[in-house]
Assembly symmetry: C2
Homo-oligomer: 347 residues x 2
DNA sequence: CTGTTAGCGCGTTCAT
DNA sequence: ATGAACGCGCTAACAG
């Protein structure tokens, strides 16, 4: 039951270690015939390269930059926390993760941050990409300079980014719509929409999905015009307050972006607070409590821990030219009700 | 930016490599003073042990046995597939995963399979533990022999197993109850329950959770007596057929265990098929389609891929005495509606 | 109690 | 086109 090494393969093939190595790593300088003999030996011996030895020998290291929005957004804070946590854990595995805070609303600054990156300082970049054209350009140039880039949470499909780590926001919107439609009685009622900005691609996608499901499946519901609050709690609170005032028969509310706290604040002050079905995004300490207390009825979420780990795996695979296992990297659209909340201590 | 090695630490502390190693690995034979000097050096140099080198040097290997039920259960098949997939992928990381099929309904056979395991052939085992006392005893004896054991999917809390990898089935039942209650109109109606067997702990837990939520939150619903179909499609079909016949006003149906296919078969033949809210467990090709077609309304699930990976991580940590990061290993209770289904190709 | 030394399996020169 | 030899950073056995 001993481990088979290149030695065994070399012996079986009647060649030397170096030759086996060349074949295994597809390097030139080996005759067709020899290369085939080695392949045979590998097959019959079921040789599996030892990743520990390989990792040690080629003193490779992975330096990844994560550009994550700062600001008072609980989800982004989670994402940052996870990234930093993994920077710790994985530093023994020769991978360094640097988190660079960015202002997601300042496209030029983000582009500038991307512009100074380089093969010499960084082997891969993950960025929560705001939808500015200059950001797209910066991503493309970074890629052209040979640094693999993945987008995180918010995609830039038109760019040359290698991969997107995040959820299908259209489907997420559909899910929100279905929950709203089915939680409400089959009776006329109005649905209010709050978004950060429909200029943000993820918000627009969610909105579209939700609208489609409600229009198709629940025609008795009237969909109100979406209002934009820039993911800000105070703005959202005012928006919702006026919404409730203008529509006393409001039945449901979908907060497409962040700022659930503001929405809830307005809601609890409303007369029919607990009757209004409220669906929002991302599991944070706040939405957690809101679900428990019954202020929120459902939360659609994506797991920041999974996303960070996926981004790292993908970037690593990109660095050493391995294929990406798509099924493995798909980020799930989580649905939380008050009953299936994870405890909040761990990830 | 060079990597700091034990050499650097040794030099800084004025001791030799071996001493540093002793301190780092908590081995005896070092004076208090020396041990402190080394600690200091480690701190100031921010030394991080290189896991590749360590892995190579201590030619450790992890041989894990996974005892998974065979039989025509799509979820268990998924679990097995994932385990085998990882056996492939990770074999370069010195970890061998053997999958041993077991008959979950034959406690003696399972106990027998556990009984022949041993430190000499296996460094850890993960078992989908059926709730027989002889299984519990076998787990305890295995542990006593020094082989760490984790239970998978189905727990045995009274045993000495080190860890349980799976979901909180009580909470899962609550979630199912909430979904049923909220999807149904606030009007009188009956809820039917199908289980594999309430002798199975996970089924009993789910049932309890669901009952509690429905009783507390939706008192207008009448809960029918649970019927047991041993997770068998044919039995389930007959049970549901008679259920529908006896209760023309059946409003909802909760299939606590497997065999959704049988339940659905009976359902589609019923007059009010699409009106009955049907909630079940586990995402399989069949429940996937049933959600899409509207036969099922929600699926509560656990991700077999996550569970296998978690089991491997935990077993590994157990083997080399590392702590288990609880938050990292918590398995989520997934909720699937027709809108947030993952594509079925990958994990 | 502490230091010295020889590998672990593979990548990477250099020499042939 | 192929082979021999060294070193990656760490552990483990053996000295002292």
């Amino acid at each position: 039951m001993k481990r088979v090494t290149i030695h065994d393969v070399a012996e079986a093939a009647g060649v030397s270690l170096a030759t086996v190595d060349r074949v295994l790593n597809g390097r030139p300088g080996v005759r067709k015939g020899t290369i085939e003999k080695v392949r045979q030996a590998v097959e019959t011996l079921k040789y599996q390269p030892d990743s520990f030895a390989a990792g040690l020998a080629k003193k490779s290291r992975y330096r990844f930059q994560f550009l994550l929005p700062d600001g008072p957004n609980a989800f982004m804070e989670d994402l940052t926390r996870e990234a930093l946590a993994h920077a710790q854990t994985m530093s023994g595995d020769r991978l360094q993760v640097h988190v660079e805070p960015i202002d997601a609303f300042d496209g030029h600054r983000v582009a500038g941050t991307l512009a100074i990156l380089d093969r010499t300082v960084c082997d891969g970049v993950a960025v929560v990409a705001p939808a500015f054209p200059e950001v797209r350009a910066a991503i493309d140039r970074l890629q052209a300079r040979g640094v693999p880039v993945v987008t995180l949470v918010s995609d830039h499909p038109a760019s040359t980014r290698q991969h997107f780590v995040g959820i299908d926001n259209y489907a997420a919107g559909c899910t929100a719509g279905r929950l709203l439609g089915r939680f409400l009685p089959e009776a006329p009622g109005k649905i209010g929409f709050i978004a950060g900005s429909l200029g943000l691609r993820d918000h627009a996608d969610r909105y579209a999905g939700c609208q489609k499901v409600l229009a198709e499946g629940f025609p008795h519901l009237e969909l109100l015009k979406v209002r934009e609050g820039r993911d800000d709690n105070d703005r959202n609170e005012k928006l919702v307050a006026t919404l409730i005032a203008e529509h006393p028969d409001l039945a449901g509310l979908y907060n497409i972006g962040a700022g659930n706290r503001g929405v809830a604040a307005a809601l609890v002050n409303a007369p029919r607070a607990k009757q209004i079905v409220f669906v929002g995004h991302e599991l944070t300490p706040y939405t957690h409590d809101a679900l428990q207390s019954g202020i929120m009825d459902a939360v659609i979420a994506q797991d920041p821990g999974h996303e960070i780990r996926s981004a790292i795996r993908v970037l690593k695979a990109l660095c050493d030219g391995r294929p990406i296992i798509d099924g493995q990297e798909r980020i799930r659209i989580d649905v939380f009700l008050k009953d299936n909340l994870p405890r909040l201590d761990g990830s």
